[in-house]
Symmetry: C2
Subunit: 310 residues, 2 copies
């Protein structure tokens, strides 16, 4: 599993990362108490598991796991860091779905957490996942070097915080209330925060775990930034194209709400071109990884982002 | 400010800690971007400041600052760690006040965050403060030793998480829906999580920042645990005694909701005895600090918890 990589390995690696993440999330979200904990309320834990387990491509964990692998770092520590990124992603979905925010009843074809467990529990589930992500990241089991753990925590908090994901969510809400159409530049900025920052962290986390040197760090950051941008444009395009059944959520909802999307700002053809250009930039950023075919899977991931249909 | 301490210094030290915390929160919650941040949405930042600034005794930051001082550690790093604890406390109030949870309109005599800024913003403000607390704690400016920062993060996350504060909030909601009266043991357990865990962390954070040896750590943990217990019983007693004007929130609301309180479980006289016994245990835990009068301010803090009237 650690040897050379062919382009066709990508899907296998994606599934492998999803399995490792699912398994790690499953083992972290149990009734077993950690030192300092008194009780984990069982019904609440069930709701946290509902919000986190059994769904999603686990694309963010995949990015962390594959980036760390570039530096020969793998195993349970990487899976913990990867599971923590996924917890942040899942918490953001739980809170975004709440009645006061996007008011969504379905997520991946299932009732959203507040529909299944009630609104109070859903708010606390989000808080619980967000908090637990930092516990998991800071724990010595994630990496033996405390400098690595502290750096991961700070980078994760910053990516997820008021100048990153949460700030992007705020801008998105504000954009929805605007009456005029949104400018492409503002949309890209908003999306780089709302979606891009955590995807970028997922890549950077692998580099931090791998204690990568500055040039590799910089190249991977360029990759992560372009990949995140491509990911969100692709999502906007899918929203326009897909039907409700395939996505498991109401399709076309973005347009109905004056959501800030690149499709609305540029039209679908220009949006596709923008997406392809981001994908190309992501792949080009990895040109400096010349050892063997090491970065092939990450390049394939960028290609996947540009061509996925769900 | 670093020399010997008389008992009467307590109130001055409490005010000093509140000033340092307010000032640190004020400087952390600005539009100035940190590396990796793109934009801090101004109106949202205003809501975060509303939720955090200009109120409260800052008792948790005081505990961190005074405990760290026992080990000769003081200054901006300690104030950062203390401000982070307060951010967690403030976030928990913002989310607890939401319509789906306690549905409170007033907090410290002012409209709650969701009343002032809307529910969507309040949810995100809580998320933002929770996230920022970990950024601040993990940053090198908090302590030069990354081992200290990683340990702080993990301890804070665990205290605030599903086996600590959030778990306690869940148990509290469940207790509210129960029809039978609550047992004293269950109430103490619930409160040790909901309120106690973060107060305990506030003390332990000072010991971690001070890189205290194991016996001192253990003594301070005993102190923090007893202090947290005393704090919550005192709060229950105050709720029964105080009128709405003095507290700035609807008094007597606990009884009206079958809230799990020690007053309801034991009666007010036995609750007062329990409180005094916790205070005595907190003070006794500090007996091992025999150098000069160093732990006097923390002992006075325990006394304050037992005798405060608002």
């Amino acid at each position: 599993m650690t040897g050379g990589t062919r382009a066709s390995d990508f899907e296998a690696r994606l599934l492998e990362a999803a399995d490792a993440t699912e398994s790690m999330l499953d083992s972290l979200l149990t009734l077993a108490l950690l030192p300092g904990e008194t009780v984990r309320p069982p019904r609440f834990l069930e709701a946290m598991r509902y919000a986190c387990l059994g769904g999603g491509k686990r694309f963010r964990p995949f990015l962390t796991i594959e980036t760390a692998r570039l530096f020969g770092v793998k195993g349970a520590g990487v899976a913990r860091a990867a599971a923590a990124v996924e917890m942040i992603h899942c918490y953001s979905l739980v809170h975004d779905d709440l009645p006061a925010l996007d008011n969504d009843d379905l997520r991946r074809g299932r009732p959203t957490t507040h529909k299944a467990f009630g609104e109070a529990t859903a708010i606390l589930v989000g808080d619980g996942l967000l908090t637990y992500a930092f516990d998991v990241t800071a724990d010595p089991a994630t990496h033996r070097d405390p400098g690595v753990r502290a750096e991961l925590v700070r980078a994760l908090a910053r990516a997820a915080g008021l100048g990153g994901m949460i700030g992007g969510q705020v801008l998105d809400l504000e954009a929805e209330q605007a009456r005029e159409p949104h400018q492409a530049g503002a949309v890209i900025q908003l999306q780089s925060m709302k979606t891009g920052a955590l995807l970028l962290y997922a890549v950077e986390a692998g580099a931090i775990l791998g204690q990568a040197q500055a040039p590799a760090r910089a190249a991977l950051s360029r990759y992560g930034r372009a990949l995140g941008a491509a990911f969100q444009v692709a999502d906007d395009i899918l929203d326009v194209e897909a039907d409700a059944l395939a996505l498991g959520k109401r399709a076309g909802k973005d347009a109905g709400r004056n959501k800030a999307t690149l499709v609305a700002a540029l039209g679908i053809e220009a949006a596709r071109e923008q997406r392809d250009s981001f994908v190309a930039a992501a792949i080009a950023a990895l040109d400096s990884f010349t050892q063997g075919t090491k970065a092939t899977v990450l390049k394939e991931a960028a290609h996947f982002v540009g061509t996925r249909t769900h």
